[in-house]
């Protein structure tokens, strides 16, 4: 039997993931919460309303969701997936997979600690690897996508579990609302269809492109593609 856990952080992505998991009655075998006790952001009321239309509340802290749903979790007082305390914990974990809600590159010791790590990347790989891919995809193709893959030592190159395409939104709240929404919807599909247990992962095609943080001018063009009638 395959055991799957999740590693949460105090950001909008984690909020969307855990709230939708709870709402859909999905149970996970293990929950880790990296919590540096940062101050919660002040969100625009329009952002909060848009997120609620998508089924999650960006103003609700992750810890509140965990406590309200009476979920057991292991808390760490830092946000750093490569921390030695995380490495020590993972070496003793019984979970086969962890859904990792953060980003970046995992160090070798974490990758070799035992479990495999699943990341939901907001881009269809290999064409859209790297950062802020969804903005580039909206400009080029008027749509965007998410890839769930098993993390390896490089960025966005791991074996693919599942990919899902989404239409571009009709609002401007992409970073804090739409991005967490499409990642969490993709996660729900993976969990509801037991795609992790099925283990039918495929290698990525050669080639592709890696993008860097989008410049504000291109970001504005991308958002205007969404909001202009």
């Amino acid at each position: 039997m395959v055991k799957t856990g999740i590693i949460l952080t105090p950001d909008e992505r984690s909020k969307a993931y855990i709230q939708k998991i709870v709402k859909n009655g999905i149970s996970l075998d293990e929950i880790l919460f990296m919590n540096d006790k940062r101050n919660e952001k002040d969100f625009d009321a329009r952002e909060i309303n848009q997120a609620k239309k998508y089924g999650f509340d960006i103003s609700q802290p992750v810890k509140e969701t965990l406590k309200t749903a009476k979920l057991d979790f292991q808390q760490f007082d830092f946000v750093d997936i490569n921390h030695h305390d995380i490495e020590d914990y993972l070496k003793n974990s019984q979970s086969n997979f962890f859904i990792f809600t953060g980003g970046g590159i995992l160090k070798k010791e974490i990758l070799e600690s035992g479990p495999k790590f699943i990341h939901l990347h907001p881009g269809i790989v290999p064409e859209y690897r790297g950062s802020t891919c969804f903005y580039y995809s909206i400009i080029k193709e008027n749509k965007l996508g998410v890839t769930a893959y098993i993390m390896d030592k490089n960025l966005d190159t791991g074996d693919i579990i599942f990919q899902k395409i989404f239409e571009k939104p009709d609002h401007e709240f992409i970073d804090n609302v739409f991005d967490p929404h499409i990642r969490s919807e993709t996660l729900l599909e993976i969990l509801n269809h037991n795609l992790i247990e099925k283990g039918e992962f495929r290698k990525q095609d050669k080639g592709g492109e890696t993008y860097y943080i989008i410049h504000p001018i291109l970001k504005h063009i991308s958002i205007l593609c969404c909001v202009k009638k």
């Binding site: 860097y212 989008i214 504000p216 504005h220 205007l224």
Partner: protein, 208 residues
């Protein structure tokens, strides 16, 4: 109506690099403020009445002994400006191949991580110098990125050029010789034309 200033080239971006993370959205007015900002700088550069930009002339002044075969392999440390001129020569001669593209992408990666270009690197692109002040490196990489974007429409290159041009604009008071000024004018005009074309293709008509 709230007026937006294009603030991404106001501070000294070489001393205080801009990370561009989670940049805020201001609406269509922001694009207008960008065009206004860039055009103000273009007008200042035009006032110098420098000779028109000439790519071959500039390369022959900067690196008169550079040949089209110089960097077929990177086996030793290299001068960044010379490698960039080499890439430009290759593009000019229609020989922008896999190896040249690999060099370009490595330099872009280096720039995107540090938001600086150093005077020299080793064959693994580890920087060998703490000096990132050579503005010509930023000019040349930006020009290459704009040319590659024009021929491929790969937004990655236009994206990097925008950041390089923000740096160049933040250093405008240092532009004093004919080469810097003519190159700066040419690059900024090219960038704004490409951005305007992209806007029009997307049905966006910035008002400026």
């Amino acid at each position: 109506m709230k007026k937006f200033e294009y603030n991404y080239s106001k501070k000294d971006l070489l001393e205080s690099p801009e990370k561009y993370q989670m940049s805020p959205y201001f609406g269509e007015m922001f694009l207008s403020s960008y065009f206004k900002s860039r055009n103000e700088i273009i007008k200042k550069l035009e006032k110098n009445n420098c000779p028109s930009f000439n790519l071959t002339g500039i390369i022959s002044i900067l690196h008169p002994n550079l040949t089209i075969n110089k960097f077929e392999k990177l086996e030793h440390e290299f001068n960044t400006e010379e490698l960039l001129c080499f890439i430009l020569l290759k593009i000019r001669q229609g020989q922008f191949n896999i190896i040249t593209r690999k060099f370009l992408n490595k330099l872009i990666t280096k720039f995107e991580i540090k938001k600086r270009l150093f005077l020299s690197y080793n064959p693994d692109f580890k920087n060998l110098s703490g000096d990132f002040s050579n503005l010509m490196n930023y000019f040349l990489l930006s020009l290459i990125c704009l040319m590659v974007y024009e021929s491929t429409t790969n937004l990655k290159y236009l994206n990097t050029s925008l950041k390089l041009n923000d740096i160049i604009c933040s250093q405008q008071q240092k532009l004093s010789n004919d080469i810097d000024i003519s190159l700066g004018e040419y690059i900024l005009k090219k960038e704004t034309r490409l951005i305007l074309n992209l806007c029009k293709n997307k049905g966006i008509e910035p008002n400026w």
